[in-house]
Symmetry: C2
Subunit: 326 residues, 2 copies
């Protein structure tokens, strides 16, 4: 099959590799849409020790089961393979499973390829009327759905539900959409890139600012750098809640003194539970997350150029979806 | 009256000052016991811009109402004077009142003095059989009671309630006692000072370690420095909760990457609600916080020496209580 292989810092090669061979209980999935995530970009830039070259990246995938009794079933892929037996899994918190694997991190190859092999429990059936390019958004949307659920659960019931989302990439936009789907109507996205901000306003109908001034009950840091954490800890209201998504910088930025004096809660969030992945997929299918018409589709064979464009900041759309068969 | 006045960095003078004159609705309280807090020490060392010299420090006080219809009533003092009218106060979160005042910060003088003036709603009646030196512990115990309640509320119900408390001063010990009063039986205090650790074991019956190794569902950082936050973020289990008390250093220390990958929640905490102050006082009166026999009583006139001893690390007891009339 063809795959886009990460060969080293800023090197991606589109070439033939062996087809995956499904393990017991796994199914072969023909990938028809796979998104580029910020974490793929971190890996491409050599900033993710969990993703050493050579490796097939990509974990936001949708496609069609090939072979077996489910042959031809259109699916979106939950890339997080949990053990199902540890206390975290039994509590429905697969995101905390100490044995969790994620495709695009060894020992599992990623989905920038024509096929992957996955356990059936990681595959969610997609209705015929939902394009697979939309279904592939289940993964990034589930990341933000999880964060939105956690901040809503953590906020004191006396506070008005106002939200600032820092960063208008796919995760930030998805956080705004998830909060809105959960009934939070007052959502502002802070995004300094002018082209992306215009896109968020004009195509996505979101309220945006270049820089956050003011305070909100929720702040979702959808970037994960020291500077965005500094902004988040300045922008949370007393008694408010910050959810932090992203692995940009390991430490620094939080104004702990302010968080202490004003009882601000900070929740680190990463991925989602299996139920949240299914809930998010259902919300996509039901249209509760909007038209999801803010993606840009390119051929997987042009994947390297897509990474270069994203790194240069010249992509207005919050998400590029790659098609391995284009 | 006599008062211990903070005159500048590491300068405390015990001298005559004018008696306070109660404002409308306030009562004069004869102070009979007042504890030294870590925040008094920060101020004494010149590290607290909120407490500029000259100023009477001290906010952990108990005494007797003098004059008026409540004359002779023994009380412990909630030092946090909230506005009672803002949304936070109306929600019972007086600790988040934007107009809050705390005695020992301008415009209110503190309780290292023979008298203070306080609103009646800040005074909790102490039963005759409870010594005022014990009742004066309501304030630091309420700080930790609040933190313990917040971590218990935030923890996922599937997790075993194991707790690490970092720092074995009064706030750390109080956190351990509050958690135990709330039913958490597995509590470890990390305290590097050998004399204090021996005191915690022998006098307070606590489980202690010099350095934390391992992971716990709750971590209460009762110190508030970058190093203790680093220890806290390393010691929290995946899905666990950190409560942070203390204003030692404003920023730094947290391993945000680990907190993000493992969904660790960090809650900044400071003071307590009015209800929690009353609840803590009642727990003291009922004996639910133990014998509270771990204080050392000294004369207010010897207050400067007490600060010097605390700063030198030669005080094994987690709390020195000063008596303005000794």
């Amino acid at each position: 099959m063809k795959a886009l292989v990460y060969d080293g810092v800023e090197q991606l090669g589109f070439r033939d590799v062996p087809d995956p061979v499904p393990a017991d209980g796994e199914h072969l999935v023909k990938i028809q849409a796979v998104g580029i995530c910020g974490s793929d970009m971190h890996a491409y830039l050599g900033h993710d020790a969990r993703r050493p070259a050579p490796l097939i990246l990509g974990h936001e995938a949708a496609g069609t089961i090939v072979g077996g009794p489910k042959d031809g079933t259109r699916v979106t892929v939950n890339p997080l393979v949990a053990c199902q037996t540890c206390p975290a899994c039994k509590a429905g918190r697969e995101n905390l499973c100490p044995n969790r694997q994620i495709i695009s991190m060894p020992p599992r190859e990623g989905a920038f390829a024509q096929y992957i092999s996955m356990p059936l429990s990681n595959l969610v059936t997609v209705p015929d009327d939902v394009p697979l390019a939309k279904a592939a958004l289940a993964e990034p949307l589930a990341v933000s759905w999880h964060a939105a659920r956690l901040v809503l659960e953590a906020l004191h019931p006396s506070m008005d539900k106002t939200a600032l989302v820092i960063g208008g990439g796919a995760i930030g936009l998805a956080a705004a959409l998830a909060l809105q789907a959960m009934g939070v109507t007052d959502v502002t996205i802070a995004e300094p890139n002018d082209a992306r901000r215009a896109f968020l306003i004009n195509t996505c109908g979101q309220s945006t600012v270049a820089q956050a001034h003011g305070q909100w009950a929720f702040v979702i840091d959808a970037v994960g750098y020291a500077a965005t954490r500094a902004a988040a800890s300045a922008a949370a209201q007393p008694g408010g809640v910050i959810a932090h998504i992203g692995l940009g910088q390991d430490t620094g930025g939080l104004d702990v003194r302010r968080m202490t004096l004003h009882e601000i809660t900070f929740i680190g969030t990463y991925t989602y539970t299996a139920q949240e992945f299914r809930d998010t997929a259902q919300a996509i299918f039901d249209g509760r997350l909007g038209p999801l018409d803010w993606t840009e589709i390119r051929a997987l064979g042009d994947g390297h150029a897509a990474f270069e464009d994203l790194h240069a900041g010249t992509v207005a759309s919050p998400k590029i979806i790659l098609d391995p068969w284009a």
